[in-house]
Symmetry: D2
Subunit: 356 residues, 4 copies
């Protein structure tokens, strides 16, 4: 049973390979009567485009999105929303030498064994290109949750050891002002310097992204398995490169005492927010804060030892055009995935609202 | 849309409240012809029973499991397996003072707002009691994955600042030798001392659990959303108290370079296991290592500020009989949840195996 | 992937074998705050109990239902509702001779081959006993749809060639006045006479049930696959013995012309109801009328040729205590299944109502 | 919760409106390593194209299918298979007069009320055009079930009162020899004559399609809700125009006795096939025979009374280019839907096969 859908009521199905004809998404369950223009989706897609500079691939992905169904006269119709992006500038030949090679840290080895075959070009389905579809869906989800004024904001928390230290969650304008989606301009510079150094070394590096959800109403989340943080964790962990998830204090909470961690409740509201907006799997109306850890990207220019499909030893130097760090490009993807989960849970919550 | 089921092919549905009549589980999709005795389930349940000593509740949960369907003449029949545990020694009166009080750090506040009402006794559905059903399901899952010799082992990695330092994953016998499921006897003593201190302070404390999956065949995991680590993250994050998840190096990978993190592939196999047994969402045959961070339990004896259902300020001292730390009792629950996910993905993988 | 759940938002999972310990149901997704007493469920169960007389089994099924979770202080809590019925008066020995015999027309043969083993006692999971769980779920569904005043009424349309001729759908009181749930007292007598004759011949006979849904709001049904009539057809076809389904005019519509079948729409409403309350898979506010055809029950006293598990020829005379016709006992089951589907679609419709 | 997906393991999601940009399908769960060429899909699509002659629309649907993902180097990859058909020759202006009119017998009224808006052009999502996506998916399903030599064959059983009388299920060559997919050449002529007459009367007419499944292995079907006949009934009832479903003897079984209906089992196999290949929801290895009743198409040239969105009375004469009968064009759609269900259940059965 394949797993290319996420969401129960706001159900997102993605398809497409890195160097196939196109990538796309079908959203089944998007409410009707939402103002939606193709420009809304294009704007979101543009945010995940490779930028200019040391930190990013030189692949030119124009990524023009087309809506094929589900929108009529500027509004959603309640029928499945289908959107596609044709692949362009896909230099498949770059990948010819990789036809039978298993690149370290990539899905080549596991895809080959799981499916008995694979589209080797640019990672095929396992490519970061796949997130094009996620970002489109996220843009639609954003429209859904806007009805109740929920905002999802993702930003760069750290690249390597260069980390944001501010404790307060930032504003969107500060995030967008940085080419790395890092709200601190000083840290942005340090991060860019680090990326330049890493690139020169033909290496890659990891990082941390933080996502904040503001304005989430009380009541989202469906215990005991589809708790809000559980579905958020799954959605974020499904993004390539992610190796860790924290909600609120995360691993730091393991060393705390209950008297430190519990949030007192006052007649005026919660006195603190260590719970990070979720209690027992259900949103409590406070800000939700999530963090993900990203491993360094596996495509590096340095020589690596590996094998081919015949089990023969290979010394590999990965060509192609690759990002040095999954940040900043993963940032809009995180925002998209969290928006999708929140939209889904908003609809799930609505289903029985009339009885409450 | 409620969320009390997990798994797609090995589908587990749990029900029951802490002080209701019973707790139970239905497993739909368990293969037929598996040897299964009620004693198998009872053994697993016993492992999550409160023990003796400073670290644990004095509630006596005898937790006798009964199989009501799906097993005939000692073997599973392929029909739904239903099992229940009647609640006993449930001193509901202990909770009378809490009828209208929202305990800090608990689900009282969010359950009340989400559902418009709640069973206030002992946390109702949000209680740790609910994990009784998970552990039963895990014991059945264990039988399923045993066919291909997969082993899942969970153990205590840290309580507060007392942390296991060994890098190798331990043996089951070492884990079972410790009342805290910590494979290191020295650390177990230190942890017990810490728990005694915390209990004396009428406080609680957090900790870290590590789970290792051995013998997992290549190919489990269903990209791009139901990646193996994504479903594992969801399953673990759905356990109460869990605030963080790491796969392999987790947050430590964020500061590494690709040349450090990538696992070279040799004709003899992977040279290292930084990927922690999963590449691009699919198991690669190596050991899978996961860690979860648990917040301190919210039930503490100290005075806390909160409000009641009428918004009035309350000074609360939680009575009842509570654990000082969710460890060790969460350890068998982690083992259960991971087993359930692995069993589910094993069946998912089987569905199309004949075509490969 | 097993199939013991039905419904997406009002999700019903049933379990249990005819002569196992118990039968039960878990409903996940029942809205909170619905008045529900165990007596509501018991009343529904009583309607499917074997009656007295020629037409029915002499097995005494007291069928006492117990609610184990999901209801607190007389109202649903929004958590999973679990209910069970212990099996009693289960003379398993009656079935000893059948341990290895495949009864014609029963699931013995297919269950054995599908699962490699089976609980042979009384049909196990394939027994009509399983509908106990459906009826309980239907009684809860009835409470859900009552919020918008939807009524579901099932009644006997025909037994063998004795058929109801009235074109108007009847009232509940007329249905309940008949031991066969047939609203026409004259036809009831004829049907009873037919059943007596069939029983004397040690045979069984088929029949037809009609189900009407009144007060259904406009908008239920989710094209293009989960159309209202599609989900109704599945739910009804999942009941043992059902071999045909009609919506509205059903097979009679195949010989009509569009000018005869189309329902004109007037400012005052639909001029006729050939569509039977559903247009393009979505309810239109009119009465929905369904019919199911039931085959004759396969358990008959006459000698039959069959084989055993070793492929050896057997002359079988089925003992045990059996109904002569699946009617009237299937009637409350039909009502239950339709109620479940309507409740599910009502919740599905609610999920996006706020955006419309 | 929308309903544009069908199948659990062979999951088919369709999208697209009659006069939108395109129609398409995503299949998630198609096994890898299946030979698949775009020509396979095109061939299936061609069978549902409007033909020439009295009985069919003059709309020229070239319907060129394009595979966008999931196939690489002539074989399926196990990743989602996406295919689209661009809409052409869509004279949307034909529908301008219908922008606010609710056509009798169509989904205009219910779509408008359910979603608050609709794409009025050509029925939008409710159009028969939507079956383009079903037929593509059916062609892929056909490839899946071919591994175990299952064949699905649909054919015309009746148009109006002109009905096939042969009791044996026909061969594919006989079916394909008829422009109406009716295996009897004499009846084909009579049916064509009837269609000509109906067309002259500016009317439409209903009919019956029969579908036979040959070579189905024992064991497909997942009781108690996802019984094979239940999922088949749902799949067929989800096709526009279908108002009735029969399995095997269907409504005729309601007047039979058990001694007539039961199929004796001999050491050499079943002595008859009244069960129509399914016992207790599970295939028994015999031929499965299904029949569906189709209502007359609602688009007729005669004047009809209806209302517009403002509730004002309208006298409507439907223009556009319409079929006189949903037969023969529904025949390949029936074949597709049954193939999809069988493929899905084949995979579901495989998932636990290793344990049996």
């Amino acid at each position: 049973m394949a797993g290319n859908s996420i969401g129960q009521l706001f159900k997102v199905t993605t398809w497409g390979e890195s160097h196939g004809e196109a990538l796309g998404v079908v959203i089944d369950g998007c409410p009707s009567n939402i103002d939606l223009d193709v420009a809304d989706l294009q704007l979101a897609l543009n945010a995940r485009k490779p930028g200019q500079g040391a930190h990013t691939t030189t692949r030119q992905e124009t990524d023009t999105v087309e809506i094929l169904s589900g929108v009529f006269a500027g509004k959603t119709t309640g029928t499945p929303l289908a959107a596609i992006v044709r692949n362009q500038d896909a230099r498949s030949n770059d990948y010819d030498q990789l036809r039978e090679v298993f690149r370290p840290g990539h899905g080549d080895y596991t895809y080959q064994h799981k499916y008995g075959r694979r589209d080797h070009r640019g990672g095929g389905r396992a490519s970061g290109r796949e997130t094009v579809a996620r970002v489109i869906a996220g843009a639609v989800a954003h429209k859904v949750i806007a009805r109740v004024a929920i905002e999802v904001l993702a930003y760069t928390k750290a690249i390597g050891n260069v980390a944001l230290t501010s404790v307060n969650s930032p504003q969107r304008s500060d995030v967008l002002a940085s080419v790395l989606f890092c709200p601190d301009p000083i840290k942005t510079k340090e991060m860019l310097a680090l990326l330049t150094e890493v690139k020169a070394a033909q290496d890659s590096i990891g990082g941390i992204v933080e996502i904040v959800v503001r304005g989430c109403p009380i009541g989202l989340g469906e215990p005991v398995f589809d708790k809000l943080e559980a579905d958020l964790a799954k959605a974020l962990m499904s993004i390539g490169s992610v190796k860790g998830i924290e909600v609120g204090l995360g691993f730091a909470s393991a060393t705390l005492r209950g008297s430190q961690h519990n949030d007192a409740i006052l007649p005026t509201g919660f006195a603190s927010n260590n719970a990070s907006g979720i209690l027992a799997g259900i949103s409590n109306g406070e800000e939700i804060i999530l963090r993900i850890a990203c491993k360094p990207l596996p495509s590096i220019g340095m020589e690596q030892r590996t094998i081919n499909a015949h089990g023969e030893e290979i010394i590999l130097k990965v060509g192609g055009r690759h990002d040095v760090c999954v940040i900043p490009r993963i940032v809009p993807v995180c925002e998209a995935m969290v928006s999708i989960v929140i939209a889904d849970h908003l609809l799930r919550q609505e289903a029985t609202a009339a009885w409450r």
